[in-house]
Amino acid sequence: MSTSRKTGLLNPQIMRALIGIGVFLALWYLLTAVLQLPRFKLLPNPLSVIAEWISFEPVSGRSIFTKAFYLDMGFSIARTLIAFSLATFLGVLLGLIMGWNRIFYDFSFPIVEILRPMPPLSWIPLAVLILPGVELAVVYVTFIAAFFATVLNTLLGVFSIDKNYFLAASCLGSKPKHIFINIVVPGALPFIFTGLQIAMGVSWMSLVAGEIISGQQGLGYAIYEGYSLFQFDQVVCYMFTLGILGYISSAGIRALGRRLMAWESRRRGA
């Protein structure tokens, strides 16, 4: 999207991003370490967070040089990936069928719309009750919000397809299966990818909530542990770990979307 030919740190886009981050860190430092405003002085300052993050002997036992850090990350990433893949597969499938078949839509839309706004966390009791083991319950909670976001966007994607494409395809001799594969799926793709980005975001959010409530390992669990043990440096450095993971995963989806939709004349809000 950047049309600049400069690369590396000289690229103005990257420069601005770095400056933005720098200003944020400076303000944070100012509020917590220099001015020490009443409520802010309880917060860890950025230097101590970074020091903890890259320490060989972290107070909390978790830094980039410890196995625990990568174990936490591994658990969280694995749960999110499983939940997100499942949500993508089932959500896109259901959304496409709902969008394509009017009768199925009539049957399913009301119930989907009732289930959709239920907060992921409200599913925890039932998930723990039904699913064997806490692990699956956390994955389920991560899955459910992403699933509905994907269904709804896929559905809207199918509805967004120009009616003329269907008419053209049918007079050119298409059978329903051709229309489904050649018109419905690619036509809904831009909306599907918008949905997947939202789904990825809510996956991480619900994952952490699930881990805090019923997890036994993972970033969310470690944040809760840090909170109970009063180790706020660790809490903050794990928060940023989550933020960075979320950023990378969204960027990955965007990049995939761009490759699959090279045909689009203009980019949808990236």
């Binding site: 120009d162 003329n164 494409y165 008419l167 053209a168 395809a169 049918s170 007079c171 050119l172 001799g173 298409s174 059978k175 051709h178 050649n182 018109i183 690619p186 036509g187 793709l189 939709m261 090279a262 045909w263 689009e264 004349s265």
Partner: protein, 296 residues
Amino acid sequence: MNQVLTPAAGITKGSFGEVRLERVGKIYEKEIERLVALDEFSLTIERGKLTVLMGPSGCGKTVLINMIAGYEQPTSGTITLDGRPVQGPSCDRLVVFQESALFPWMSVYSNVVFGCQVQGIDPAEIRAKAELILRKVGLFEFRDKYPAHLSGGMQRRAELARALINDPKILILDEPFRGLDAMTRELMQEFYVGLFEEFGRTNLFITHEIDEAIFLADKLVIMTYQPGKVKAEIEIDLPRPRDFKMLASSRFMQIRAQTLELLYEESSKAFASGSKAAFDLVGALASSKDSCRIAG
């Protein structure tokens, strides 16, 4: 004047159809409202000829196309292609839509061969046909591009190619050059009329542009405003092949003046009854009446 048909191998098989509409009526009924879109509409779209249909907005042209294409059923009357009643969409009656209906997610080549592919035609045959027709419309070099990366004129040519490769018995064009800039539009008209003159084929062409209509047509059909009926059929006896010099000929002017009279009546009716879209047409006609008077 229509024996044309130098059958460039592969593109034409000379199997052009004749479409007859007999006393076709189409009524839309909602709870209280009742709209008679077409009433006792009878017309023969002759074999191998270019029939152009004109009429004010809202006169039922699109309904007519939808019924010939098989997307909708007439309420009364019959539509036949070579004597057989029309049933459902089929690739012997192909429509080129108003706004481009090229699939944006397919390359030009994939768009053009789409019909043949879903019909399960032998891949080698498809490839040969596609190359021929892409060269014919001047898009062979652009076959791997997506529609969004083509100019408006190229998109319309790609769409013509996508239809022609299937050897339709009738080609229906619904204001295909709408939205093109004036220059491109003229070039497309010239290109299209050349294509028609080379391959013959039965064509039904819908347009709002009077010059375009006369320039292209063998027969010009003018429709009435609600309910849609045939108001007049005008045989256009300008010689073929046509070129743009004819736009200045006295015969052209004669036909134009006659057509304008007929159209003006209908458009005024549409205007008086409050059709918003007709407003533009009346305005355009009024100004072109003046220019015609000056030119003639």
